[in-house]
Symmetry: D2
Subunit: 266 residues, 4 copies
Amino acid sequence: MTAKRWRTAVSGYDTEHIQISGYRVRDLMRNLDFGGTLFVLYQQRVPSPQEARLLNAILVSVIDHGIVVPSVVARMVAASGVPLQACAAAGILTIGDTHGGAGEQVARKLCEEVSAARQAGRELAEHARELVTQARSRKQRIEGYGHPLHPNGDERVDVLVEMARELELLGPHLELALAIEDELAKQASRRLPLNIDGVMAATLMDLGFDWRLARVFVFVPRAAGISAHAVEEVRREPGWRVAARPDEIEYDGPSIRDFPHSAAEP
Amino acid sequence: MTAKRWRTAVSGYDTEHIQISGYRVRDLMRNLDFGGTLFVLYQQRVPSPQEARLLNAILVSVIDHGIVVPSVVARMVAASGVPLQACAAAGILTIGDTHGGAGEQVARKLCEEVSAARQAGRELAEHARELVTQARSRKQRIEGYGHPLHPNGDERVDVLVEMARELELLGPHLELALAIEDELAKQASRRLPLNIDGVMAATLMDLGFDWRLARVFVFVPRAAGISAHAVEEVRREPGWRVAARPDEIEYDGPSIRDFPHSAAEP
Amino acid sequence: MTAKRWRTAVSGYDTEHIQISGYRVRDLMRNLDFGGTLFVLYQQRVPSPQEARLLNAILVSVIDHGIVVPSVVARMVAASGVPLQACAAAGILTIGDTHGGAGEQVARKLCEEVSAARQAGRELAEHARELVTQARSRKQRIEGYGHPLHPNGDERVDVLVEMARELELLGPHLELALAIEDELAKQASRRLPLNIDGVMAATLMDLGFDWRLARVFVFVPRAAGISAHAVEEVRREPGWRVAARPDEIEYDGPSIRDFPHSAAEP
Amino acid sequence: MTAKRWRTAVSGYDTEHIQISGYRVRDLMRNLDFGGTLFVLYQQRVPSPQEARLLNAILVSVIDHGIVVPSVVARMVAASGVPLQACAAAGILTIGDTHGGAGEQVARKLCEEVSAARQAGRELAEHARELVTQARSRKQRIEGYGHPLHPNGDERVDVLVEMARELELLGPHLELALAIEDELAKQASRRLPLNIDGVMAATLMDLGFDWRLARVFVFVPRAAGISAHAVEEVRREPGWRVAARPDEIEYDGPSIRDFPHSAAEP
């Protein structure tokens, strides 16, 4: 095994310039905002103003969400006397398969199903009906619908759908996602609204991103939100956190027992 | 020690709404971009369009920088078969006191010196002259000037200074930072240009941010850049990375020696 | 969704005592070493002195390995001005599916194959022959054999096999692993020795651990090794690390190009 | 800036051997346990059996402590669908200045005061009396005494003190720490017992370790404990964790307010 040369097509620098995918950073600074530059970073092309705007709205939608898992973790680390970037690092570790990865799987599924519908020459509404019927007959859950903290729907979802429509960026992935939502309402007894993971997955796919990247659009903006929590924790809550209320912890393993000296004494 | 109630003034949610500092996220999505929302998150007020634009330019300036420490770390973790958010977490851990924290100290120093000049009723240019004279007589380095990779100056710095001026956001901190640069050129034999840490520190202070936050504006955008590197590593470089070329590693500790059985045999 | 009570059977404490799986920590301190206590933590029983000794040898075998991926990452983070535990955290993030997880998959496979052989009433040597024949006909690699840095075999493997034998802890998993090694030598043209991942997997399974835990026995001891590297980096190598030699980095993306003002100007 | 050659005196390898500080890993596996090898790693010499035994007891003392900050963080990350080493990484990030670093400062202080007493030709008991008198007159807290969860003393401390005495390894640092405890009892109205941070600091210094390493002896063993928690979380607690009981979270920032369209509309 020989050492490899490091190669990259992401970005480069010399003493004079720094560039991302061939665009000088100085030009990106003057012409694009953060969301727009993120687009260049992952798609190697300059987005239209509409694309940049929708991507910014996606980033803003998940920038923070009060005291939930990522911010609690960041706060606990902050309370332990640790630099800010390490609090953020701990917090974004929680954007795993259960959260951000959920969006990833929805994104992948939407891509596959849009392709499948096209190949079968089937309307997306019809394809959605099939998918829901099939899932219900197999008693399978369709990911991307329903949210435990927002049972009646989430206004962030509504805004992203409206903006995608207004900006003329509502493509087949979001169309299919909404058609599934309609079918779920028709076939099921209760409404199961498209959730934030689902709408992010759909709009990101319509914007042309790779589904493997879905969680990036959660943990990058959330790094900002959890940093605000970490800073607040240090300023407002002196001392370290009690992890859980003592009366909430239950040890339910073996009872205290004597050490079996006969068995393990060296 | 009793368990504490968790309090926050950062953001909150109920089943209907999510809000950041009292602003509904749905309104932030429609009215601000990512940079603008970051402003709300840390300053609890809506920025002017000029302030949001300058903050976006700051974020874009450090979004990526080719293959340097944070991206190498993220790539090595990625090559080890680890989810994307963990690669980003490892990479941002490197935004420590040497990098982002450098900006932090510059920001703090600029705040203190602007205050000191005001209290002394002294012009910033005059204050800069004193600072440089003093530093040179004590043979102290002034942080925020010079960059090993960009010895002749960094065009990102020029763009931020120009934008701050054009947007009428060039305040006392950047004024002082530039005055120090001028003095360094006058008093020293060689030009020591304001570097990216220095200009970020100065513009962030002029925008009203707390100096303790300086590194946030590095690791949040860089989380995006290093994620692009991590994704590329997985796609283009199969197998794990050799850490360094074998001929570059030198073991210079004690020579191989026999185990001192007499001393430590249990 | 209601908040859950936190439950644990791992360990507990009150104002007087701390216990692990019912054993008072004070008794564990007096009667077991670190390896032995790790055994209690994961198997809820006190190991025999032989079991504790073999587990210690496993831990020692991977405690450090010079300048390789985990230590390079820890060193780069250390050079960035970051506390020691964060350097260790970054380093152990690299013990992912490519390294520690490799052992995990070998462990799982050995468990399944030992069960399969038993169910089929087949000798392990015979089962090994089948496995190798099958893998070769399908051109599949059998994980746990061969090591790029130790092509002629790894003395740590030999020591663990010898110790397992001497301590009378060589069970069916290691027996099968060795039988596969023999078969590979017979059927293939070149020797493909059992590697450290393979022997760790086999001995840990013979000791009764769950295969899902295999990587714990790598990253816990290695946390010690990489911390030694992080400390050395800070003491001996002032300043931050250049990530790679400039002449080793190749940017191979699009060439520098002008910003398409017509397309993206807002 | 030219790229540096990577140097290390920690450990090295070639195709045949791996060695730590010149000792072949194969010899360490056969002759030392994990604690003993940790000693070699940080002190470059083979410990006596007594030293290895005391170091093992130190490691065991902090291997786990029920559901407290590090294990809660590791559990929350685990519940988010993240690999085991990333759960451990997040958990050990909490061993910061508030916890492990506390021990670090105690260790440093003990070193300095033992030196100061020697230079002044003063008995340690007398030096302790001065220190306590001085601290009380300045209303300063002496770190390393008192523990919120173990107000009446901690049996781990007693065991370490007893073992240090039995193994004839009770040196000046622990002697001074105990003398301070006695003085605190004499001069203060209530007993403020030596805590686990304090006793670890003192015994590690008596064993000859550098005070900068103190937290290593917390986060390395605790990586094992928190991994057990992470594994249990995944096995026993399906779904992701609610961060805190909703009725325990209080948002106390600005009230919901309308977006100031006039101010920020682009």
